[in-house]
């Protein structure tokens, strides 16, 4: 199964009859079991692209489709939302159960085992009964991740899932995600601001320009994921990071000083 993003343009009405162009001619193909990181300055349309991929927003022009020989009708797409989007009236356990219930995915008897598995995996054991307002920002993000994984999606879209975590937990969660991903090998589109994170996790890093977002460059990372933290690769990793950084920094500076339309 591949996800083909085909000449996508997106804009939003900006009031007064004007439009705000957000994405411009984005074409990108996610291969089966590929982990693609999307990096770009704030406001360049990363979240918008994720929403388009999940069918939560109709594209202004272009199309997004799945291709493959063994396509089933019921492809499952999960999103880990930037703002988590947990239901305040559901505790941790029930929030993780939400996707299973909504999609009628497992017989209720088998749900419990599945949910407990992902509670353990995301380190939320002991907090099953806690409501979202009783959790820290990082724990809330982990609930969002568990909820997305619990439905065993064919395509996983993650929108800065670790942004509310402290640096140490973030590192742990990245390792967690790597080992999890090696086990499940989900096709994944992963939005991040964090260059190091992109380089540690992704098979390919897609660099978007500032708004309106265009694909500026695509970097392949061929070092096996599990070995990227080893010292013998540190020079290569640093090279990749500085390449991304030089792309991003000029754009980011311009975006910061740009007069808003």
């Amino acid at each position: 199964m591949q996800l083909v993003i085909d000449h996508i343009c997106q804009s939003f009405p900006a009031g007064g009859g004007r439009v705000l162009p957000v994405l411009e001619d984005i074409s990108l193909t996610l291969r089966e079991e590929e982990f693609v990181a999307l990096v770009g300055p704030s406001g360049c349309g990363k979240s918008t692209l994720l929403n388009l991929c999940a069918g939560l927003l109709p594209p202004v022009s272009g199309s997004i489709r799945f291709t493959g020989d063994d396509l089933t009708a019921e492809l499952r797409v999960s999103i880990v939302f930037q703002e988590t989007g947990l239901m305040p009236w559901r505790n941790v356990y029930d929030n993780i159960a939400f996707g299973l219930e909504a999609g009628h995915l497992l017989p209720p008897a088998e749900r419990d085992e599945r949910i407990r598995h992902y509670i353990r995996l995301t380190g939320l054991s002991g907090f099953e009964k806690a409501y979202p307002h009783q959790l820290s920002g990082g724990m809330r993000q982990r609930v969002g991740i568990a909820r997305a994984l619990a439905v065993r999606p064919d395509l996983l879209l993650m929108d800065e899932p670790f942004s509310a975590l402290d640096a140490q937990t973030r590192l742990l969660m990245q390792e967690e995600l790597v080992s999890l991903w090696e086990k499940t090998r989900l096709t994944t589109l992963y939005v991040t601001h964090n260059i190091r994170e992109a380089v540690m996790l992704a098979d390919r890093v897609v660099l978007l320009s500032r708004r309106p977002g265009r694909v500026k460059d695509i970097l392949e990372i061929r070092i096996p994921r599990a070995e990227r933290a080893l010292p013998e690769h540190s020079a290569e990793i640093a090279g990749l990071e500085s390449r991304i950084w030089s792309h991003i920094s000029r754009d980011a500076r311009e975006a910061m000083t740009e007069v808003q339309p």
Partner: protein, 263 residues
């Protein structure tokens, strides 16, 4: 060496008094009232003493008068509230989520909302007769509007992110209504219930004063005409207790249905 200890600067905002303070205050007011009446400064015809009202109340309970009136009133308010609340809830939910229903129904609802409902009683009596139905209907009307309006705005304000979450997990319309929209709107809906409870009580008494021979409203009017003030006041006390009971019931229900509400 001088020292300056850090003070608890939040003290005056944090101070909590125990619950019995409320009882003491109530007792003080009653005692003052009693004293004024005993002193003979006002005629018992205009302001009977609390003890006299209590005695009248006990008499009226003993001879079954309160029981009969209360039963009639409770039936009317319960039937009217249930009918109005159900209709209001459904209207608000549908109008809040369906653009068609919104366009079609909300202008009409908004136009009818400001009419003081008691003004419609003569019309309802004409249509439905002087019996129970016209009184139950007027209460249902009064309850319908605040609940419909509050449900509508609660539903309209649902966080669009949560709707997107539901859609992304392929939730159906009914599932999304039941598990996202309704819980989100519930606090707003309860606020509507509280407003409606006040309106229902008001309309109950007004309708009973205009067109009933039984019920707490009729009882109060009856003793007002006869200038038996202590029995009149006893009727008012029953109304106050009825209102309190309503409030308490809603509070308990709200606590059970909305456990995620922050303290």
């Amino acid at each position: 060496m001088k020292s300056y200890e850090v003070q608890d600067n939040m003290r005056r905002w944090r101070r909590r008094y125990p619950a019995y303070v409320s009882l003491i205050a109530l007792f003080c007011v009653l005692a003052l009232w009693e004293a004024v009446c005993r002193s003979g400064a006002v005629s018992p015809l205009f302001l009977p003493a609390p003890t006299a009202i209590l005695a009248a109340l006990v008499d009226m309970i003993a001879d079954g008068e309160i029981g009969d009136s209360l039963a009639a009133s409770l039936f009317r308010i319960a039937a009217g509230f249930a009918a109005g609340a159900a209709a209001g809830l459904i209207t608000g939910l549908v109008a809040g989520t369906s653009s068609l229903a919104d366009r079609a129904a909300m202008p009409i609802v908004n136009a009818l909302y400001p009419i003081p409902k008691i003004a419609l009683l003569p019309l309802f009596i004409l249509w439905l007769g002087i019996g129970e139905l016209s009184k139950v209907t007027i209460i249902a009307m009064g309850v319908f509007f605040p609940i419909a309006m509050n449900t509508y705005s609660g539903v309209k304000n649902v966080d669009p992110l949560l709707i997107r979450v539901a859609v992304s997990f392929r939730a159906g319309w009914l599932f999304t209504m039941r598990h996202v929209v309704l819980p989100y709107a519930l606090p707003m809906i309860f606020a509507g219930f509280r407003i409606a409870a006040g309106t229902a009580l008001l309309l109950l008494v007004a309708a009973e004063m205009i067109a009933a021979d039984k019920g707490i409203g009729a009882l109060i009017l009856h003793y007002g005409d006869l200038m038996i003030t202590d029995r009149l006041m006893a009727g008012v006390i029953v109304l106050s207790l009825l209102g309190l009971l309503f409030h308490l019931f809603l509070t308990v229900l709200e606590k059970r249905l909305i456990p995620w509400h922050r303290p």
